[in-house]
Amino acid sequence: MATSTSNVITLKGSTDIVAEFFNYGLNSILYQRGLYPPETFTHTQQWGVTMLVTCDKELQAFLDKIITQLKTWLTDLSVAKLVLVITDIATNEVVERWQFDIECDKTVTATTKRDVSDKDIKEGIRSVIRQITASVTFLPLLESTCSFNILVYTDKDLDVPEQWGETGPHLIINSEEVKLKSFSTSIHSVKAAVAFKKSD
């Protein structure tokens, strides 16, 4: 991690931290919600919490592509939201929606340095990851086979890369939302929330 020792953060360092957070965060959600068999995940230690990361090569490559793209947007400060949508394969219905609101400080340039407590950032990330893990207890069980999709909210004038396409927000009809904790690197701040279908 770029800022593991110093208490000064740059745009690049902040981008790395946030991208790393998403890598582990998305992996955790996929594991915790049982989208992939648990035996395809391995334990890793990061930020003082044990997390499960997929060792399925295909899934790894898929997530890597997203994270790499996300990094460029984080550096451009052009991303506003990252949403992980869980859909039922059979009915194509959205059953769960993990939304991460990303607030970028638009005044930051590549050379800006900010004083920030490394400990606070880690603490923030830890608490979000812990909450993702804990959310299994209240989220409804995904009864059918589900797949996921990543949505990114970006600035209106952004050029859409070739592999990406414009889409709708994939909202859940009749949903309930639970706000999770947030963390901030003083350049990017991430607010997490999960929405799921209300049980009737």
Binding site: R33, F62, A80, T145, T154, L158, V160, Q163
Partner: protein, 525 residues
């Protein structure tokens, strides 16, 4: 001061010389309002048609749209309500209440605009119904649309699929307590001795037949050579139902009760399937069609499926004269196992060609020459023992013969083999116990035992020995407590291996209703 209010009202109501403050408006008032309202209507409809009020949720804007279609009774939204004058002032000021004028509201145009302004422009729009698209688009505009100046994009590539047949393992997390209680139940006492032993002289020692069946009315039908005997399990009476005329050559190869136990289907070595009424000891029907002996029968309401030595399976609709309504050709040798699933959706057939086929029930009629939805060739010997799980309707247990000795559990919806266990002995019969979630299997050489397996672990719970020759057939009593096994040693043994304990017995009354009118009876006469 509430009581004064009432008094005042009564007084004012009684005073006839005052101007009216309640009741319908005077005509001159209405006319004046009609003129004023036309302008309000137009502005209101315009805002509805554009439907872009960003602060409002979609529901609200849709609702106000609905109001505009039926505007005669209600004041739409907050705009109308704000203008409602206080009770006291009755001066007919301009636009004091909203009374829409139908002639000035362009309902059709508004509706058309509301419906058509949302042209789908998303790639995956093909996957969604029009109403969903519209909802999505409106939601998009209302919530994040132009105010946010954001673009929503998604990664085009699809994430890799979870492996075929993978089910969310988190279910385990929620059912841990159940596992605990189930394992406790396995410690129950299972009597190692048979409850009763009946003689079955001249029972044919033929693996490919099915010679006993226990009805819902607690009557056990046993085919002994050319005769069929009925043993009433409640009273112990024995009656001879039928005897083949050509007793030396012909024999009964299969017996099967209807689900209500009012009729018995009998398969004969001549290839004829007969239908008997045990209450009158009378033959109701004789249905020919098979070229060889009928070794297996299975009912699915009015439809009787029969498997023959020729390898073909016939469907008989016993209600109509032309009973032969379908043929399934999926086996090259004798069909020895045939079972309809409890929900009547799937038919499992096992043959001497070591093949296990799963057939889908057709909608309406069963078509001749249909293909099986699954064909399993994992068994190394004839598949005679077949049993559908009573509580999971897509789960089937099958057992192979001498060369195979395996019990396989299948999910017949996706064709996945769920479990497999080597029994070290020929599997002749299989039954499920819904009470204890167990499977009991009947075996041949070397021990001729009955083995009880815990499901889904497939761990051995108990072994019941006693037969001196291979166990050929097994049936479960209608109350689910007793298993009868027929063996080549010419005995029937009744094992009370699924007896319910006294505590749970109280809660459950599984008595069979005897006055249940037969569904077949209505069709047959």
């Amino acid at each position: 001061m509430a009581h004064f209010d009432l008094e005042n009202e009564v007084n004012s109501a009684l005073r006839m010389d005052m101007p009216l403050t309640r009741g319908p408006l005077m005509r001159w008032q209405r006319r004046e309002q009609g003129q004023n309202n036309s302008s309000i209507n137009i502005s209101l409809n315009a805002s509805v048609a554009s439907a872009k009020t960003p602060s409002k949720s979609l529901n609200k804007s849709l609702n106000s749209g609905a109001y505009s279609k039926t505007p005669n009774s209600k004041t739409p939204g907050s705009a109308g309500r704000k203008k409602t004058p206080s009770k006291g002032s009755k001066t007919p000021s301009a636009a004091d209440r909203f009374i829409p004028n139908r002639s000035t509201t362009h309902i059709d145009a508004a509706h058309y605009k509301l419906c058509t302004q949302t042209q789908p422009n998303v790639e995956d729009s093909l996957m969604l119904s029009p109403s969903r698209q519209e909802y999505k688009q409106l939601m998009n505009e209302n919530l994040n649309g132009d105010a946010l100046q954001k673009k929503i994009i998604s990664f085009n590539e699809k994430p890799p699929q979870a492996p075929e047949g993978y089910l969310n393992n988190l279910r385990v997390l929620y059912s841990t307590s159940k596992v605990g209680t189930a394992s406790k139940k396995t410690t129950r006492h299972i009597s190692q001795q048979p409850d009763r032993i009946l003689d079955a002289p001249e029972i044919l020692d033929d693996y490919y037949l099915s010679l006993i069946d226990w009805s819902a009315q607690n009557v056990l039908a046993v085919a002994l050579g050319s005769c069929v005997y009925l043993w009433d399990a409640s009273h112990g009476n024995i009656t001879l139902l039928l005897q083949q005329e050509n007793a030396g050559a012909d024999y009964v190869s299969c017996v099967n009760w209807t689900s209500d136990g009012n009729h018995l289907a009998v398969g004969l070595s001549t290839g004829i399937v007969e239908l008997w009424d045990p209450s009158q000891q009378k033959r109701l029907r004789s249905m020919s069609g098979h070229a060889a002996r009928v070794g297996s029968l299975s009912w699915n309401s009015h439809l009787l499926s029969s498997g023959s030595r020729s390898g073909s399976i016939h469907h008989h609709d016993v209600r109509v004269a032309q009973h032969h309504v379908g043929t399934l050709l999926g086996h090259s040798q004798e069909v020895c196992g045939l079972k309809w699933s409890p929900n009547g959706k799937q038919l499992a057939s096992g043959g001497n060609d070591n093949i296990l086929n799963i057939w889908q029930a057709g909608s309406g009629s069963l078509l001749t020459g249909a293909e099986p939805i699954h064909t399993f060739n994992q068994h190394q010997a004839a598949v005679k023992a077949l049993a559908w799980c009573p509580w999971q309707h897509n789960v089937l247990a099958s057992g192979g013969g001498t060369a195979d000795r395996h019990i396989q559990i299948w999910n017949c919806n996706n064709g996945v083999n769920l479990h497999s266990v080597d029994t070290n002995s020929q599997v002749c019969a299989l039954l499920w116990s819904p009470e204890y979630k167990e499977i009991i299997s009947g075996h041949g050489y070397t021990q001729n035992q009955l083995t009880i397996w815990k499901y889904p672990g497939l761990t051995k719970v108990a072994e019941l020995t006693g037969h001196t020759a291979r166990v050929l057939h097994m049936c479960l009593s209608p109350d689910g407590t007793t298993v009868v096994s027929a063996a080549a040693d010419e005995t029937l043994r009744l094992w009370k291996c699924f007896d319910v304990d006294a505590a749970t017995k109280k809660n459950k009354s599984k008595s069979v209703t005897k006055d249940n009118p037969s569904s077949l009876l209505m069709h047959l006469r």
